[in-house]
């Protein structure tokens, strides 16, 4: 709360429109506790000019002609040299503390001037009593700092219901792998590699509805709905004959379903893996995630955000990830399969990643609050 006995420093914003003035009023009133007040130029003690405004330089020159000695703060995105004791420059973005400090610094100049005038007045007329004056704010150093969740049915389709396995049990281990090359996933990945190499569009022909890959747009167009495509994605068939037709042009998008290549392969990998892993994946080797997947445009599997957050902090093995998060392994396997298919995730090759055990997950101070907010967002 401001001290009612202390009069606020009167500040004017030269050339600023009502919106900028509103912002300053909020700043002075709420944050600076009425230590300063926004006034018109005529009644101001200190002024501010934003040099980045249209005509800002001219405003400055004209202001100086009107008020050669009035303290002034100049603000701009570009640094400026201002060689003048009563003009200060602050670079934008302006930290509040810096703005307050600049006003206080200029206010000190005013105090000094007032004191000099008083001494002069006293010297000139020693017998005349002066008017009582409200004290100024003392200019002490400013210390104040200033995608969608899956339904249960979808989860069965994408993740399956496989129980956790014991990594040392060979019989159980054999059940958690699949070979992407035996699924449509592998054919599409292969087509993408070649289309990228030749920089040409490609049509993937087989028993499924036509799939066109538009390489420049990183786009897939399909002549069928998902329910017609899914059977070709979930059933392995190493004997399928697949033909890749490369071409410059592509068919019109009218009536066709469009996907980003990335989202399409992600989805095919989830359908194919159903909570399993690409064959050969090492369960105990730490896994890296190059970057966060673009979750807003992907099928988001349960716990995918938690796994991504964990792996972007530090590589962890698949088994350790499930254990650390306290979740079934199939969720970790499904996410890895999808992220690996779009080349976002893989096994680390650096020796340093296997030297140290990853740290336990540190609980945030506000975990209770965050959990409530999470539930609310998922409504």
């Amino acid at each position: 709360m401001s001290d009612p006995q202390v009069s606020p420093i009167r500040v004017a914003a030269i050339g600023m429109d009502q919106r900028q003035r509103n912002a300053l009023v909020m700043l002075f009133g709420n944050h600076c506790r009425n230590r300063y007040i926004l006034v018109e130029e005529d009644s101001s003690e200190i002024c501010i000019i934003d040099l980045d405004l249209f005509g800002g330089e001219r405003l400055w020159q004209e202001f100086r002609q009107r008020h050669p000695d009035r303290p002034l703060i100049l603000a701009s995105l570009k640094p400026r040299q201002v060689e003048n004791g009563h003009t200060l420059f602050v670079k934008k973005p302006i930290p509040v503390i810096q703005l307050m400090s600049a006003i206080d610094q200029l206010s000190q100049i005013l105090n000094n001037r007032a004191a000099e005038q008083k001494i002069e007045a006293a010297q000139n007329a020693e017998t005349t009593p002066s008017e009582p004056q409200h004290p100024r704010h003392s200019v002490s150093p400013v210390t104040q700092k200033v995608a969608s969740l899956m339904t249960e049915a979808q989860e069965k389709v994408f993740i399956g219901t496989s129980p956790d396995i014991d990594p040392d049990n060979q019989a159980q281990l054999a059940k958690i792998y699949y070979d992407p090359q035996h699924y449509l996933q592998g054919h599409v990945q292969q087509a993408l590699n070649q289309a990228t190499r030749y920089n040409k569009n490609v049509t993937i022909e087989g028993p499924w509805p036509a799939i066109d890959m538009i390489i420049a747009k990183q786009q897939i167009m399909v002549d069928a709905r998902e329910k017609h495509l899914r059977p070709f994605c979930t059933v392995p068939d190493a004997t399928r004959e697949v033909e890749l037709q490369f071409h410059e042009q592509h068919k019109s998008a009218t009536g066709r379903r469009e996907y980003s290549i990335y989202a399409f392969i992600w989805q095919l990998a989830l359908w194919a893996s159903r909570g399993r892993l690409p064959s050969g994946t090492n369960l105990t080797q730490p896994i890296y995630l190059r970057r966060w997947p673009n979750f807003s445009r992907l099928v988001v599997t349960p716990h995918a955000l938690a796994i991504a957050a964990l792996w972007t902090r530090q590589p962890r093995s698949l088994i350790d990830t499930a254990k650390s998060l306290g979740i079934p392994q199939r969720y970790v396997f499904a996410f890895y399969s999808a992220a690996n298919a779009v080349q976002l995730a893989g096994e680390t090759r650096r020796a340093v990643d296997t030297l140290l055990e990853p740290p336990a997950i540190k609980q945030a101070e506000n975990r209770g609050l965050f959990s409530k907010l999470l539930s609310r967002l998922r409504g």
Binding site: R291, V300, A308, R367
Partner: protein, 178 residues
């Protein structure tokens, strides 16, 4: 009553006001006025002081949603708004002439949030301008020292804004339970 806040920031026309509207439990308080300068070209109204929305949680806890002014000249407000915030939602308009310039400007202005991993980025208007792509943004962020979530979002869609906030929460605590 316990009060917390999340900040929405970004350049003019990035969708801050709309994003807050999408997830707020109350009719958002907005101080949009008609822009009187070059920003009019981008957007009919531009945020003056700040936008405000609210998420009410069970019990007495509330999350205040603040949108920073879009115009750079109001940037001294940012520090006030961000002080003590849970995190920052940075929205970048992919249709602007220099979205990477915007990205770096705002990341520089909010360095404290970046260092603490308290930031998520939503790229808007990608249906109007499909480049730069999301992976290009990640390349720009490689030197930031943290892997920041970057999603292509439509600020009008609650689900899009929600998943950005979910990513923010998991970035802060991957052990959160669903």
């Amino acid at each position: 009553m316990s009060d917390y806040k999340i900040i929405f920031s970004g350049p003019v026309g990035a969708g801050k006001t709309t994003a807050i509207q999408s997830i707020s439990d109350i009719l958002p308080v907005t101080t949009d006025e008609q822009a009187s300068d070059m920003t009019r070209k981008m957007k009919n109204g531009t945020t003056v002081a700040m936008d405000y929305g609210l998420i009410k949680l069970p019990g007495t806890e509330r999350i205040h949603l603040y949108g920073t002014p879009g115009q750079e000249r109001f940037d001294f407000m940012w520090e006030i708004l961000t002080n003590g915030g849970i995190g920052l939602v940075l929205l970048i308009n992919n249709q602007r002439p220099d979205p990477f310039g915007d990205l770096h400007f705002f990341l520089n202005a909010f360095q404290a949030f970046i260092k603490q991993g308290k930031v998520v980025i939503g790229v808007t208007q990608m249906d109007q301008a499909d480049t730069p792509r999301i992976e290009d943004y990640h390349l720009q962020l490689e030197n930031s020292g943290v892997k920041i979530p970057v999603f292509d979002i439509d600020a009008r869609i609650k689900k899009d804004v929600s998943i950005l906030l979910e990513a923010l929460l998991y970035s802060l605590d991957p052990g959160l339970e669903e």
